[in-house]
């Protein structure tokens, strides 16, 4: 009986040990710093994790990548930034990962990342979150670190992805972020998919959209890949002279498609 117990215990310990295998954490890839910021626009306290793939923060201006829903994606994004900048495929960048001080981001994000509309949660307050980024977060980051303010990137996935697209089109005249990566967006949001309506409205207001935008989706995400492709086609057919828009599908599901989309998107927005 003793040898059985040892064998079974060994298997269990091996199983538990394997759980911790693979996937490096951010701190092993460079320097990190965290600080809180309370927004007067949203009334929420956010925790920012700033990462730079080096031993010290930069002394000359570098691009800044803002990662929405950082509580899910910051390790992945930091690893990609570290690997790609290390191999010279993208410039060395600061990463600012947005998280929630109360650790309730899974719920709080749905208020911040949705713009109001028919069929959308009544609490949606995307505009307030955008104003927080524009008037509070970005000035603070720009003042605290050496930032290339013409080279800001916004990355969002799911609700973060639809926020990325919507805020871009909502501010089409003066886009706050000139480089955007919209991953596996909640593209069916709104009774009639309001991002399609927003795209039409933006087209009546601007003749150009000087932005580099990468859109992607996994193929095992219901109607999402087809809807993303349709949105991409409509945007591309506007023939905005200075819009560089890329699109790709990946054999992934919603939980894993952020990685290839971010990996390819970050190269697209820096190299096109």
């Amino acid at each position: 009986m003793k040898k059985h117990t040892i064998a079974i215990t060994s298997i269990l310990l091996l199983f538990i040990g394997l759980q911790s295998c693979k996937k490096d954490k951010l701190a092993t890839k460079g320097i990190t710093e965290s600080w809180d910021i309370t927004s007067s626009n949203t009334g929420t306290t956010y925790t920012m994790t700033v990462f730079y793939p080096d031993k010290q923060f930069p002394s000359t201006p570098v691009p800044v990548i803002y990662v929405l829903d950082g509580f899910w994606w910051k390790d992945m994004a930091g690893e990609v930034i570290s690997d790609l900048s290390g191999s010279g495929k993208i410039p060395k960048c600061l990463m600012v990962s947005l998280d929630y001080k109360k650790d309730d981001g899974v719920y709080a994000r749905s208020v911040d990342l949705q713009y109001p509309g028919d069929g959308v949660d009544a609490k949606a307050a995307g505009e307030k979150f955008f104003q927080f980024m524009k008037t509070e977060l970005l000035p603070k980051v720009d003042g605290k670190y050496e930032c290339d303010t013409a080279n800001r990137v916004l990355f969002g996935h799911s609700l973060g992805g639809i926020f990325t697209l919507y805020s871009l089109l909502d501010n089409a005249i003066y886009p706050l972020f000139k480089k955007c990566i919209a991953a596996s967006c909640s593209i069916g949001l709104g009774l009639d998919n309001y991002i399609f309506e927003k795209e039409k409205i933006a087209a009546t207001k601007v003749t150009d959209l000087p932005v580099k935008l990468f859109i992607g989706s996994g193929t095992y995400v219901g109607s999402s890949p087809a809807m993303h492709q349709e949105f991409y086609k409509r945007l591309k057919n506007r023939n905005y002279p200075n819009l560089k828009v890329g699109f790709s599908l990946y054999p992934e599901q919603h939980g894993t498609d952020p990685y290839p989309i971010f990996r390819d998107g970050i190269q697209f927005v820096f190299n096109n």
Partner: protein, 207 residues
């Protein structure tokens, strides 16, 4: 109820008082069918054929062939005017190697594990329409990948002939440990291409 069955399963087996011979406890051939619960909004079933050429009083070893099938249960995450007809289905064929321990000398209760390799096909197809936005789209995407992982299980046989049994199992793809995606791990919940599920199956002893 399922939880109670799992907790009291070993006790129930002991209470059956089967004919306690080595041959009765250690079978050669079995087939089994199980109901599976993986991530949310997903259901499935599995069919296994098991062969045990090697048996000792406390352990038996042998290969299995398994097929499983999962499908997505349609769910609306947002209020919408879209008209959508779609199916998302998964099919897998796996070859397992079972290592089963029989801790009680005169009882068929067993616990075990089985590493596996296999092939999986995931298909997502459908149509979506929205008259207001002029959307009418068809799609059909298939993902084909090799897979590997492990199955952890406990079970046992009941009745005088020890011919019928139940098995509860946790099966998981471990492919995430070897790929380059930082979002996949050794054990994943809610990722169809790195499938993990629990199953409750009925086992029939052929020989």
């Amino acid at each position: 109820m399922k939880r109670l069955i799992l907790i009291f399963f070993p006790v129930l087996l002991m209470a059956q008082k089967p004919v306690k011979t080595f041959e009765k406890i250690n079978h050669k051939w079995t087939v089994q069918a199980g109901f599976c619960i993986p991530e949310f909004y997903n259901l499935g079933y599995e069919l296994n054929a098991n062969y045990y050429p090697y048996s000792k009083s406390w352990v038996r070893l042998g290969p299995s062939l398994q097929i499983n099938n999962f499908y997505l249960v349609p769910a609306k995450f947002f209020e919408t005017n879209n008209k959508e007809k779609s199916t998302s289905a998964e099919f897998r064929a796996n070859a397992l190697f079972n290592v089963e321990f029989i801790p009680f000398k005169k009882n068929s209760f067993y616990i075990g594990f089985a590493p596996y390799i296999g092939y999986q096909v995931l298909n997502n197809k459908g149509n979506i329409k929205n008259a207001k936005e002029g959307i009418d789209l068809n799609w059909n995407y298939t993902i084909n990948t090799f897979d590997f992982g492990t199955r952890y299980k406990l079970g046992g046989f009941f009745g005088k002939k020890q011919q019928y049994g139940l098995e509860a199992a946790l099966q998981m793809s471990n492919r995430g440990i070897a790929d380059d995606n930082p979002l996949s791990k050794f054990f994943n919940v809610g990722l169809p291409t790195y499938k993990a599920y629990v199953s409750l199956g009925f086992v029939y002893r052929i020989k």
